[in-house]
Each structure stands twice: as structure tokens, then as C-alpha cells.
Amino acid sequence: MSVHLKQDRPDTRNVLDKTRQGVIGAPLPRPEGLLKTTGTATYAAEYAAEGCLEGVLVTVPVVRGAVTAIDEEQVRAMPGVVAVLSDKRMTGRPAQGMAGEAPFQPAQEVCYWGQPVALVVAQSFEQARDAAKRLVVECRGEDAPLDPAAVDAEESESTRQGDLAHAMAEAAHSVDITVTTEGHASAAMEPHAALAQWDGERLTVHASLQMLKFNRAELADSLGLEQDQVRLLSPYVGGGFGSKLGVSQEVVAAALAAMQLGRPVRVVMSRQQVFQVVERRSETHQRVRLAADAQGRLTGFGHEARVSNLPGESFAEPVLQSSHLLYAGDNRLLRLEVARIHRMTAGSVRAPGEAVGVQTVEQAMDMLAAKAGIDPVELRLRNLPDKHPENGKAFSSRKLAECLERGAAAFGWEERPRAPRHTREGEWWIGTGMASAARVHSVVEAKARVTLRPGGTALVETDMTDIGTGTYAILGQVAGEMLGLAPADIEVRLGDTELPPGSGSGGSVGAASCGSAVFLACEGLRRKLAERLGINSDDLTLKDGFVRWSGGEKALPELLGNAPLDCVGHFEPGDSTQDLAVSSFGAFFAEVAVNRWTGETRVRRMTGAFGFGRVLNARTARSQCLGGMTWCIGNALTESLLFDPVDGHLANCDLAEYHVPVNRDVPDCEVLLLEERDAAASPIQAKGVGELGLCGGAGAIANAIHDACGARVFAYPMTPDRVLAAMPEG
């Protein structure tokens, strides 16, 4: 049986509020948590395979060029070496998210420094690594543009409405700032890894991937196989943050080697390779202009950004994504352009666009508040548009005002205006700042099968992944709520392309899309049960393994009998959001200390308030927000990919030198989850939360730095040297 829904209308039934199990939204621990914390969850590289060979990718220190010769013989003679592959099907770049087709081939056409061009396979990892380093690859090198500021850029997107320049000229208060952000790495803990096995007809690959149905298509296309010849398994993923949306180089290389050698082959990227060859977040160069009347009401809004990518890549960091709808202003100019340069592929890193776009707008808003003498929270409240300011669509739901107000109250926000440098504790200037959060919402097609098993337990199956986000927990909760079962009685199987294709994890679409598929499957099962009882499914209450209706009660196993009952839920986005602007919103409040001598900045506390539709699990949702806020700290203060100006290589390519926040950098963070029901967003009234927590928070930290010490810094990350350079003396 299957239930298909193309959601053309908002679903205002709020079914999950009427069911009685009471597990939806509960802060339940993840069912797989113990496995992970005890090291017994098996990740891609950890599978044992009889006779497995080890492959190591060979990279070349050339920024652009073509491989002309590979001296295989020399390393073939080394102990343990089995093969040197430089197959034309090897991929030079990772696939972009949801590409569903082969990424750039052949790998031997080099487009960025450190591109993998070959694979050495040996009996042991150590032998392969040694041989890979010794392999002599001749490459015809060419010069290539490296500096995004030094090349002409192509326009990728633009919106012009009214006359911004005029509005700026006429404004009672205006702000015009230019801000830069540096490239970011996704820096997932688990390196990219694949273990491929070929039985002559079918390929099975354990890999660390976020979106299996797309990944299967990408891999099959890369290899010239049919999709049904490929099976991918990613039951556990040690973080992806966008870098595992598409198949990257190790998956294709491992598959080719396994097919050629007829033996299992494992390829794991080194930490340095992960930094050098998977997707980066583009650096950005942004200009924000705000024009306002005397009351601080926006009359003009401008946001222009320049980002970069390799030639041929369609992705452009969507910096303006939420700028289109966050604030009012009739006169608008939004423009995004892409510079073509030769750094590793730019692609989605957690919250592409908003992660670097919202914070700059929020800095400008802070400056406008100061100029207009209006409290920053109040300024934002005054500028929330009634409708989408460009296309006039109504908001499907928007908790932004409540987030601002409740966040401010919880944080203890002190109203402004006030002059900076008001509080010093010893060497430290103390200040606070705030920012709005916004992240566009979307859902994608997803399928899931739910089986009621004799005995009254359930099985949920989809190829959806859990990238550390809590998918196992929330899908079990949706099913438990719908079927009246305790989560302990539900088994969730994920990450296997043999299972019905879900959405995959990326762009915060997973919970709402796959959650809806599970919901639909359960609705189908509920109807089936009602049919058996000869009642209407509205008259059915499922709770604690019992089936109740107006005429009686039965234990679920009794009703089920000996045969399992299953249903595939098939969710597709439809027209429900066509006339609506759908987005998640929130607010950040941060307190920082800035050292008056050294410019070192430490975040002392942070509050985030978020509204993103239905909360499916308060614990995992909070974790997503906390993780996002932690990213805000890195984004604001430390994270930066450093590219060599001479040959374009990435200089800081490990976790010692690419500085993500450490425990000591992350203070007590408070997260407020504001319950919301968004009927248009999905049939379970949920929107996305995986990325919202990092969309704007770096701006709150930047604004707090100013409130603390008087430094307006316009370059992220705000390292001690940059803060010092902007800090007034004394």
C-alpha cells in the first residue's frame, strides 16, 4: 500500500496535536546515542571486508593544467602496491548538492591546487600512502586567476525595485558598509571515506554521504552504470555540513578500483585532503545599504555580494537569500555576482547564503539603530514587512517578532541607545549585541515505508541519513505519535539505497520532508486499521499499543494478527507554498568581552530564540540550534581559509590551524524554541531547523564587540588584530 501526497494546500488539521501518544516534540534522547558515544556505531571506513585493499588519492600541486604522464612503473614495484588508477572516470570535483549526475570528469584536468588525479591501491594503507606520495605525476601547468577581487565577475542574480540611490540621498538616516567574509570549511569530524565492493554486476559502497538517492545517481553516472547496479550505505555519518551532499572524489575512485580489481577497496581522505578537495564556502565581499526615515523605517534596502567559484560550477553562495524578505524598504537593490577563480569547488557549507549574508545586514541594522537613536530590537520590530517586500506574498508563518521580544527578555537586553565602552571588568570591555535570524524553508520529495509488525512494534525505513542531527529519533517520534507506540517499540532503519528514497540531509529539508513521508505512511496504516474495525479513521485513537474507538478497545497486536501491515508514504511538495513566503526566523543575543590590550574577543553568553514550525524533538532541535550558535562563534571570531597568493594552495588545512571554536570558546548558550505550526510548509507543520542557528548570530557578536569596545569591524573573522585596528585608543 502507498499513500501519495503532493501538497497543494496548507494542512491545518494539525493531526499530530490530536493524536494521543504524546511523544511528538518530546526531548527524547537519540536511540543510537549510546552506540555513538561508546564508539560502536560503525562508520564508512570501519567496515570489515574480506581481502580489502587500501587506496590513497594522489593529488597534484598545480593550480591548473593537465596531467601528461604518470610514472606508474616506479611505484608498481614498491612492496604491496597493487594498482595505480588514473581512470578518466575519476572525478576532479565533488558533486554539488542534489546534482544527481556525474561531477567534473576527467580528474586529470586540473582546476585547483591539490586536485586528486590518481589513486594508488596497495595491500596496506601505509604502503598505499607512501606510494601515493612517491608517484611521479607530470603535469602541464598553466596560470590561473586566483584572486576573486582581481577578475571580472558575472552577474548571477539581481533585483531592482524603485530607486535605492535616491532613497539613500533622501534618507534621514542611512548606512553604507562594505564587509568581507573569508572562506569556510565544513570541517566535519569524520573524514570523507568509502569502501566499495563489486560482485561483477553490482556495486556496494559504504560511504559517508548526506543524500543517498542523488549520490547513487551521481555515482552511477560517473561510472557508466545503471542506478540499480549501485547500492550505497550510510547509516551513520560523522557530520557533513554540506561537504557530503554530493559524491566526492574518494567514492568514485574507490568504486573504480573495486570494479577494476575485483576486490573491496577502501579510500579515506586524509584531513589535509578533506580541506583541499571537498567543497568550501566561498569568501564574500558584500555591500549593504540602508536608507531610513526619521523614525528608522526603512525606505531603501541594498545588499550586493561578490562570491567565487570554479569555472563551470553553477553554484553561487546565495548570500542574499534571506535579504529578500527579512526587512521592509520599498527601494531595493540586491545583486549577486560570481568571480571565476581557481580554488577548490565552492558549494553548500551549512546554511549556504544566510550563514554569511544575514550577519552583514544585521551589522548595518545595528549601525542604523545607533544613528537613529532607536533600540536595535525596536528598529527590527519596526521594519518587519507585512508581506514579502518584493513579491507581495504573505508569510506562511513568522515568529520573528516573538523571537525578538522573548529572546530580549530571556537575555536581559538593556535598551539602547547607549555609548559603547560602558562597562569594563579589569582588562575586558563588556558589551552586548543582537541580530535577527532567517533561513528560507523548503521541502523536497521523500518516501518512507512504515511497517506494523505482528506483536505491535513498528519499523520505519527510508534511505534518509542521520548526519548527527537526530533523524533516527524524530522519525521514530512521528511514527510513535501516529501509531500510538512508545519510541522504544519503533525501529528506524536509514542510510541504505535499498530502502525507499527519502530526501537526504541538506538545506534543512530532511526533518520536514522525511517526517512528512513517515506521517503519510502512518496515516495510511491508520486508515487500514480503521477499515479492519469498520470505522472511520477519525474515530481512532492509538495509544500505548492499544486501539480505541467510540465503540471499544483492542490491543494493537490483536488487531494486527500474524501478518505485518505496511505502507509507503510518498511526499511531494506542491502548490501549498506558491502564494506564500516560507521561512524560519529567530533572534540572537550575545554578550562578549573584548580585551582592551590584545583585542581578543570571547563570547560570554548567548541566547537564541527560534521559530521553525513544529518542534519534533525539543532535545535534538535544541542541539541543532546550539551547534548553529557555535558556528556563529567560529564565523565571527576565528574561521578562515587562508589561500596562498602565489600559487593558490590552501595553507591552513588541518584542525590545528583552521580554527573552529573549542569548548572553552563556547559559553553557556540558552535556546528558546517557539512553538509554531506552519500548515503550508509541510503536512506535519514543520519547517527546517538544521541551519537556522547560524544565520545571523555572527552579526550579534560583531555588534556586541562594538558595544563593548567601540570597534566596528567590517571583516570576518574578527581576529585580535582586526579588532585592535578598529578599536579606539584608551
Binding site: 600541486p61 606520495k133 590590550w597 590584545t598 596562498d644 590551524e657 585580535p720
Partner: protein, 327 residues
């Protein structure tokens, strides 16, 4: 990583003999050496594992303390005598790396840790320290973490460690066993070198020489501070650091032994700073003059220009804290 032979040294003399070979390196905690071997920055043919030699104790020696070469950083920082009498040393160690690394890192290995220069650790880049004569990638490249004092046109790398900066302020000595069974002792202040035209040599150790201990002079009391400036609050190397042993009487400095990290190819110690400070009344103007001495001849390489004012300010911060000026 290149294949290598592994030998476990049972006795010190055995270790020195093995280490006399140019292609042999001693292995202590391995936290630096093994990483560099994976990157093929270090390609020893033989590792001589010295980790089981009996160099693991902290003992009183004369009025001072002798810390064996294999004492872990964790053990040194936790030692009650170190904490009571040489707090600057405990503070410097605890400001470095992470707990897990400090549990393995040893006194000798820490002194000999190599630079974190990005070009040094990437074998596809030119680097005179790794491959003499190949050029210096950092001078025209990413030099944010590089030196501003005592650089040469051949190398602008820093010595990255923290512990040695405290040891330089304390005027500790490094005890070294030689291949022929004799030993020598070198002040920590003279142990590391400036790059000059032989940046491949970090320090004065000769082949076959093994560090056996660090000896601390009699405790001097006073205020002992270690100040480390960095982007994140832990697990990052110093952009600039200051170790300070300071004492005042009647509002005049009676002691001001300062050493600086993150600025040069060695922990930086300039005796003129103590000469200037001792006997004087603390003031911001005086600290500025001390910084003038420190930074005389300082040269930035673009990206690291900020270290020059940062060092001045960090010096002032430490002296303010120690003397109460500006509180």
C-alpha cells in the same frame, strides 16, 4: 609516511649512539614527530624510541629542580613544587595544546617541537628549513603566524612552543647527553637559534645529542605570569606570548625577567629590558620604553605586521597586571 626502522633504546648511551646517525631521530611522545612523518616533512630511516629511558622524574637538585626529559607536560604542570615555586612554567604548559596532547608530550620533545609554518609542513611548497636552498614560501605568502624579530631572508618561522618561553624567563638550562657519554648544559636562552642562513637547524643540538633534563634555578618568587594571545581561547598556538617573573619593592621593580613567544625563531629574551625596568617605577611610559627595546629592529612581512603593536600591548598588559599600574 616513509617506511622506517624502529629501535627501542634500553640505555641512554645506546640512544645517543643510534641518534648520531644523520637519518635517525629520537622518538619521545611522538605528538610532533609522528605528525610530521605522516606529512613526509620528517623522513627518518630509523626512529630510536627513547620513551622508556629512566628520564621521567622531577627531582630537587641544589636549590632548584631537575625535570627529566621524558616527564610529560601534564606531570610537570601538576607537580606541586612546580606549581608553588615556578608557577610561570605550569601556566605556560597549561596554555599549550590540549590535555590529551600534554599527557603525551615530553619536556625534551616540547623543546624540540618544530615550527608550525604552513610551508614547512607542506612538502609541495618551497621551504629552506625543510629543504635548504628551495626558498621560503612564507615571505611572499601567508605569514600571519610568522616572526617579526630575528628573521633572515631565508626563514621567518617562529618557534611555536609555550613551555620554553617560561623556561627562558626562568633562565633554566638544558642538560644534554652526548654521543661519547659526556654531557653538556646550555641555557634555554641559547638553546634555540636564529635562522640566519641555516634555518634547517632549529637549535644547537648536534647529531647524537639527547636532551636528558631541564634544570631550574632556585625559585625567585615574585609575580609569575604567562600571557598568551590567540584567536581562540584554547588549543591554538600563540600569536604572541609573554612569560614574566616580576617583583617590586617600594614601587620599584627589583626583578623583571621577561621572555616572549610567537615573535621569533626562538623564545625571545633581551637582557636590556630587565636592565631598564629594574630600579624604575612602573608606568605606562616605562613599559613603552621596554617595548621599544623589545621591538628594536622588528620587521613585519605584511600579514604579520600586527604582531609588532600586539607585542607592545601584550608587554604593557603583563607589566600592568604585575605592577598594578592602570588597575
Amino acid at each position: 609516511m616513509r617506511p622506517f626502522d624502529y629501535q627501542r633504546a634500553e640505555r641512554l648511551e645506546h640512544a645517543s649512539q643510534l641518534a648520531a646517525d644523520a637519518d635517525t631521530l629520537p622518538l619521545a611522545g611522538g605528538t610532533n614527530l609522528v605528525d610530521l612523518m605522516k606529512l613526509e616533512v620528517e623522513t627518518p630511516q630509523t626512529l630510536v624510541d627513547i620513551s622508556r629511558l629512566p628520564l621521567r622524574s622531577i627531582a630537587e637538585e641544589g636549590a632548584g629542580l631537575r625535570i627529566g626529559a621524558l616527564v610529560t607536560n601534564t606531570a610537570t604542570a601538576a607537580d606541586p613544587r612546580v606549581r608553588a615555586d615556578y608557577p610561570v612554567l605550569a601556566r605556560a604548559i597549561l596554555a599549550g595544546a590540549s590535555q590529551q596532547l600534554r599527557n603525551r608530550a615530553t619536556t625534551g620533545g616540547n623543546l624540540c617541537q618544530r615550527t608550525r609554518c604552513y610551508y614547512f609542513t607542506n612538502i609541495d611548497q618551497p621551504c629552506n628549513k625543510r629543504e635548504p636552498g628551495s626558498g621560503c614560501g612564507a615571505i611572499e605568502g601567508i605569514a600571519r603566524i610568522h616572526a617579526v624579530l630575528g628573521t633572515s631572508p631565508h626563514c621567518i618561522a617562529t618557534y611555536p612552543g609555550d613551555m620554553a618561553v617560561a623556561l627562558a624567563a626562568l633562565d633554566a638550562r638544558v642538560e644534554i647527553a652526548r654521543e661519547n657519554g659526556s654531557s653538556r648544559s646550555v641555557p634555554v636562552r641559547d638553546f634555540h637559534r636564529l635562522p640566519g642562513d641555516t634555518p634547517e637547524r632549529d637549535n644547537v643540538l648536534e647529531p647524537g645529542e639527547i636532551i636528558t633534563a631541564v634544570t631550574l634555578p632556585a625559585p625567585v618568587g615574585g609575580t609569575q605570569l604567562y600571557r598568551k594571545v590567540r584567536e581562540r581561547s584554547s588549543y591554538a598556538f600563540a600569536l604572541c606570548s609573554v612569560a614574566a617573573l616580576v617583583a617590586l619593592e617600594d614601587n620599584r621593580f627589583t626583578r623583571a625577567d621577561l621572555a616572549f613567544g610567537g615573535l621569533a625563531h626562538k623564545p625571545w629574551h633581551d637582557p636590556r629590558i630587565a636592565e631598564l625596568l629594574v630600579g624604575s617605577e612602573p608606568s605606562l611610559a616605562l613599559f613603552d620604553r621596554a617595548a621599544d627595546l623589545l621591538l628594536e629592529g622588528a620587521q613585519g612581512y605584511g600579514e604579520n605586521d600586527f604582531k609588532i603593536p600586539l607585542a607592545r600591548r601584550t608587554l604593557a598588559a603583563v607589566l600592568c597586571e604585575a605592577s598594578g599600574v592602570g588597575a
